[in-house]
């Protein structure tokens, strides 16, 4: 670690080297222009198989009902809610990277914002299927989920946190999709002008709405982007806050604790960044984006993973401390049972993967190693999945009366749907990389050295 070489008087470059603007277009549009590599098809075959496993499990679920899952009394929420919270959490990184880092003027976000946003959409899709299908008969879910005037004369219950969830997740998905699409418009126009053949050109032309790079449009566009970022930021917080309300407004020990909202948000950012990190490293290597997604970016992502992991660790400790401090016997029992009861292994997997292993990122050599980053990010995802498992299952499996105690054993269909959701997610990621620019062309051009007028500061020290 040669610390003296860091020069704090200069910002680390967002894009390394001196690429030409057209060269950037060529590089970013390469996966779109060319026939995909063999590895892409191999990847698609794997994820497609996983997706099929999910589809079969879903079909069986619809045929037989939620009884095919391992849920029971007292553990009435199982993998469905665990997976939902897990995927919604993953879905937080995208909008966070686009919106919060945009507002904080962290320009290193430029290289990764686009596909982080895409991952948000895909993750929320994965999440939505679980909440939808855990209702048992999703085809009539509209009756309880949407406030529409109906012949039954009933309305939805606005006092229910599950209702808030419907509003929060659907708003989040809509706003994220809009945000993503607005960002895509100039790039779609660039692709339109690059495209040679008819169908491709027509599709991109229609999707780009007729964008012509007019500065009279850029002016409104930039303000709209700022406004959207301003709204998306608190929206990200609100979504996982409301997901945490699903648990925390109850009176169940282990669920009802006031730190849940910020704790869930921190956890969501944590897992989302880890997932982005995984996909990022693979994409960067596969498509030779090393100069656009710099090692500095990966290091910064690792720092955020470290910070949020430590926040989550703070929340675990605070919960434990207050469980003791409250003097409430049930509260105390639930927490001791979490760590040393029948599900002790889940708790310690969670704790190890979320709190202990990210501490390796204190070392610069670990932060800048692709392999270590990749493995630790996978660990984080495992840990965060188990966090939700611990919250849902261990809080439920010991009811207030010992006569109502039980255990949760997942069935093969639980795992089938979990695998299917990963299949769906990665299939969508692969398709996205093939058909849309994985890096925002118009944004990265604006931060390339020499791309801004001199009196305004050039790219290297601007901002």
């Amino acid at each position: 670690m040669s610390v003296t070489t860091i020069d704090y008087s200069k910002e680390a470059p967002v894009v390394e080297g001196q690429p030409s603007l057209r060269g950037l277009d060529d590089l970013i549009a390469k996966p779109i222009d060319e026939f995909p590599h063999r590895n892409w098809f191999i990847g698609l075959a794997i994820t497609g198989t996983m997706l099929m496993i999910g589809a079969v499990s879903l079909g069986w679920l619809l045929w037989k009902g939620v009884g095919v899952w391992g849920i029971n009394q007292p553990v009435a929420w199982g993998f469905d809610v665990v997976n939902f919270v897990f995927w919604v959490g993953i879905g937080h990184a995208g909008t966070l990277i686009s919106a919060i880092l945009f507002l904080l003027r962290q320009r290193w976000r430029t290289g990764i914002a686009r596909f982080a946003e895409a991952m948000t959409l895909f993750a929320v899709l994965c999440a939505v299927q679980f909440v939808l299908f855990h209702t048992g008969r999703p085809w009539i879910a509209a009756i309880w989920l949407l406030p529409y005037p109906n012949q039954h004369g009933v309305w939805v219950n606005f006092t229910s946190p599950l209702m808030w969830d419907v509003f929060a997740v659907s708003t989040y998905f809509t706003v994220s999709a809009v945000f993503w699409y607005i960002g895509l418009i100039p790039d779609l126009a660039t692709l339109r002008d690059r495209a040679k053949d008819g169908i491709k050109k027509t599709v991109y032309a229609v999707l780009s709405l007729g964008w012509r790079f007019s500065n009279r449009h850029w002016q409104h566009y930039e303000r709209a982007y700022l406004i959207l970022a301003g709204f998306a930021t608190p929206l990200v917080l609100s979504v996982h806050t409301i997901v945490s309300f699903d648990f925390a407004v109850s009176v169940l020990p282990g669920w009802h604790t006031t730190i849940f909202p910020p704790y869930f948000v921190a956890g969501a950012i944590f897992s989302g960044f880890a997932m982005v990190q995984n996909v990022l490293i693979v994409t960067r290597t596969a498509f030779k984006f090393e100069h656009l997604i710099t090692l500095d970016t990966i290091e910064k992502m690792n720092k955020i993973i470290l910070v949020t992991g430590t926040m989550v660790g703070y929340a675990y400790s605070m919960e434990f401390f207050i469980a003791w401090y409250s003097g409430n016997l049930t509260e105390k029992f639930v927490f001791i049972n979490r760590a040393f009861g029948p599900y002790w292994w889940a708790y310690w997997i969670m704790f190890t993967c979320n709190v202990f292993t990210p501490q390796l990122f204190w070392f610069k050599r670990m932060r800048t190693s692709l392999l270590v980053s990749f493995i630790l990010a996978i660990f984080v995802n495992i840990g965060m999945w188990f966090e939700r498992f611990v919250i849902v299952v261990t809080s439920l499996h010991r009811d207030f009366l010992p006569s109502s105690w039980g255990m949760f054993v997942p069935t093969v269909w639980d795992f089938g749907l979990l695998i299917g959701s990963f299949g769906l997610f990665f299939t969508l990621v692969l398709l996205f990389i093939k058909f849309l620019p994985a890096i925002a062309m118009s944004e990265i051009k604006a931060v390339v050295p020499g791309s801004q007028p001199a009196h305004h500061g050039n790219g290297a020290h601007h901002g």
């Binding site: 085809w139 006092t159 500065n215 303000r223 051009k445 020499g450």
Partner: protein, 380 residues
């Protein structure tokens, strides 16, 4: 305007500094219908072009306030007025619980209307047949060049002057003309093929909707809730040892609020009726309750006004009118007794109408009797 085919004179520049200078130059030369095209937003361009601050923020503010006020009002109306329910022992109007949905809808509306207004109103999009599209000029500015286009309909436009100005500013000048297709294009709304397409879409969506809601939803597994194994009343059950689908109350138990009616059908209505007093006061609420029950259970035979002239007339032994002197002089208790245990062919209604409601019906019958035999003193 010398050449009606000319849309604009354009010039391409190679550096951001040049384009800023060019924008300034065109603006200072007094042109108003010009535009600058850059592959990404160039800092300082708004100032160079002298563009006024965008008004987009006002749309956002208005939409956000609209969403917030609208949603909290809607949630309050639903939960406190139209469909009040006690949830978790809380008051109907539990405003903290409405904060999350209010917040979400405010954000949703603000974002959608901001973006909608930007695309439709500020950009006038979608518009994929602009004269600049598909020109070498557009292909350049969509990648790595910076361009200025001065439109031919600018009041100050003179092709030569504009060309000279742009050349002086350092650009590669080229004109853009309206294409033949662009000039001759007319929307063909009533073309048969388009109408056929519309009809096709309508047919498919209507058919799809019909099949889904009227056929698919009655096929397995969607109909399985209707055919789940359960004990229905009046059916044979294989689950219970005695084979009855309906269950008896546990022996020796009494339902809450149950009191035994001590008289039977053999007791005379007027004599046992004198022993009972109507516990209800004939308020408007009681009368409307009584009316509701009367119209539901009594009117099919006794008729809406109690004259014994219902639509069952002739198909069934007719009950006598309730306005006879005998019935009018009966004590309240006698009416109650008849409703409770029945009389002649009239069955007992004690299982259909609750005790309290029967007393309310008595009041209503008294009202009917008085209405049909009104005295002059009633008018005072």
């Amino acid at each position: 305007m010398a050449d009606t085919n000319l849309y604009a004179v354009t010039a391409l520049f190679r550096t951001p500094d040049q384009i800023i200078a060019a924008a300034k130059g065109v603006k200072e030369a007094g042109y108003t219908r010009y535009d600058v095209h850059t592959p990404y937003p160039v800092h300082g361009m708004d100032k160079a072009m002298g563009l006024p601050e965008t008004k987009l923020g006002f749309v956002t503010l208005a939409a956000g306030i609209m969403g917030a006020v609208g949603m909290i009002s809607f949630a309050s109306w639903v939960a406190a007025v139209d469909y009040p329910q006690v949830i978790g022992g809380k008051p109907y109007w539990s405003w903290p619980a409405f904060v999350p949905v209010t917040y979400e809808i405010a954000v949703l509306l603000a974002v959608l209307l901001t973006v909608g207004a930007m695309i439709a109103f500020f950009f006038k999009f979608p518009n994929i047949s602009h004269p600049l599209h598909d020109t070498p000029y557009m292909k350049a500015v969509s990648s790595d060049a910076y361009g200025v286009a001065v439109r031919a309909d600018d009041p100050k436009f003179d092709e030569k002057e504009v060309r000279d100005l742009l050349k002086r500013l350092g650009g590669e000048v080229s004109p853009v003309e309206f294409s033949e297709e662009f000039r001759t294009f007319r929307p063909r709304l009533f073309e048969p093929r388009f109408l056929l397409l519309l009809a096709g879409v309508a047919l498919v969506s209507a058919g799809g909707g019909y099949v889904t809601w009227n056929k698919l939803m009655f096929m397995p597994p969607f109909d399985w809730m209707m055919m789940q194994p359960k004990a229905k009343p009046q059916t044979v059950s294989t689950f219970y040892a005695d084979g009855f689908g309906m269950r008896l109350p546990v022996s020796g138990t009494v339902a809450r609020g149950f009191t035994l009616y001590p008289y039977t059908i053999t007791d005379r209505a007027d004599s046992v009726g004198a022993l009972m007093v109507n516990p209800l006061v004939p308020t408007a609420t009681v009368l409307s309750r009584g009316k509701q029950k009367y119209l539901t259970y009594c009117s099919p035979c006794h008729g809406n006004a109690g004259r014994g002239d219902s639509r069952m007339n002739g198909q069934f032994p007719n009950p006598p009118t309730l306005h006879s002197d005998k019935v009018r002089q009966w004590p309240d208790g006698a009416l109650f007794h008849v409703m409770t245990v029945g009389q002649n062919v009239m069955p007992s209604y004690q299982y259909q109408i609750s005790r309290e409601d029967r007393w309310a019906v008595v009041h209503y019958v008294r009202t009917l009797q008085r209405a049909l035999n009104a005295q002059e003193s009633d008018l005072q």
